[in-house]
């Protein structure tokens, strides 16, 4: 109850001392509603750019995946023990990387707060 009262007081103080001036600022910097046409072409061109980026990323993904797969098959042909060792190494590295990235992100977030 006390906390709510303090919030109400803060709200009233803000309204009395700052709110009205911010409303005046909003009115002074109000922008007239732009025409629809430029907005439509802005949205359409960005959507097109997004689609292009998606296709490029997809193509790159398939290319890398195909190369990796071919490489794996080649190693398997040579010696399957090498393949098992490589896969274990990749799995351990991936888990390590995810763990470190998680800890790093947590620290960064804590610092930013």
């Amino acid at each position: 109850m006390k906390k709510n009262k303090a919030h109400d007081e803060d709200q009233q103080w803000f309204k009395d001392h700052i709110g009205a001036e911010l409303q005046r600022m909003d009115a002074a910097f109000e922008r007239s509603e732009p025409e629809l046409e430029p907005f439509e072409s802005f949205v359409a061109s960005h959507k097109q750019a997004l689609r292009r980026r998606l296709w490029r990323d997809l193509a790159l993904f398939w290319l890398v995946a195909a190369m990796l797969l071919l490489g794996m098959f080649w190693i398997m042909e040579q010696d399957w023990i090498w393949l098992a060792a490589l896969q274990s190494l990749v799995a351990v590295s991936a888990v390590g990387y995810i763990g470190i990235a998680h800890v790093w992100k947590g620290r960064k977030q804590w610092k930013n707060n």
Partner: protein
């Protein structure tokens, strides 16, 4: 009521991929969004950048909008996160010099538009951007602490302390000015 129904219809079509509906929605919220980013950054050029980037992000993410919050709230959340990310990237010293210059520029422009640069705006401009964001969203836009925490992607406790610190600084700045004026 008619406007709300109209907006709901536009949102439904925009989510389905209709370019015209999304354009109409963004056009309607353009001024509102710019006014928010201007108050948040107190910097005209950053406000324009963040407004434009928010529009681009909204175009990319419209498919994920589920209507759990108002469309304007969704845009404010995107703009707030972009402002935080951009703030992180710029170097601390350069940021201070730039902020001072931008606030001065905004002061001149506000004087030319309002014939006045109120102490309240100066006090708001002096706040750290994170504190300003929390105070504006809470007391000017009326969002709850939980909503602000969600928008800024921080714990509720952090929002509470930012609001408290921001209000303490504002009271101090403005009571100092009132004392100067009365003496």
């Amino acid at each position: 009521m008619h406007a709300v129904t109209d907006e709901t219809r536009l949102i439904q079509q925009a989510v389905k991929g209709d370019t015209r509906s999304l354009s109409e929605l963004l056009r309607r919220h353009y001024s509102f969004l710019y006014q928010y980013t201007l108050k948040l950054t107190m910097d005209k050029s950053r406000a324009e950048d963040i407004t434009q980037d928010t529009m681009l992000k909204a175009i990319e993410k419209i498919g994920t909008y589920r209507g759990q919050s108002k469309f304007s709230t969704w845009l404010i959340a995107i703009a707030s996160r972009l402002a935080i990310d951009k703030g992180r990237r710029s170097a601390r010293e350069r940021k201070w010099v730039e902020e001072e210059g931008a606030l001065r520029a905004l002061r001149y422009e506000t004087i030319s538009r309002m014939n006045d640069w109120p102490e309240a705006l100066q006090a708001i401009g002096k706040l750290d951007e994170k504190l300003r964001m929390a105070v504006l969203l809470k007391y000017y836009y009326g969002y709850s602490q939980e909503e602000i925490a969600d928008m800024a992607d921080v714990p509720v406790g952090t929002v509470k302390s930012r609001i408290h610190a921001g209000m303490t600084q504002l009271r101090k700045e403005l009571s100092g000015d009132e004392e100067e004026q009365s003496s």
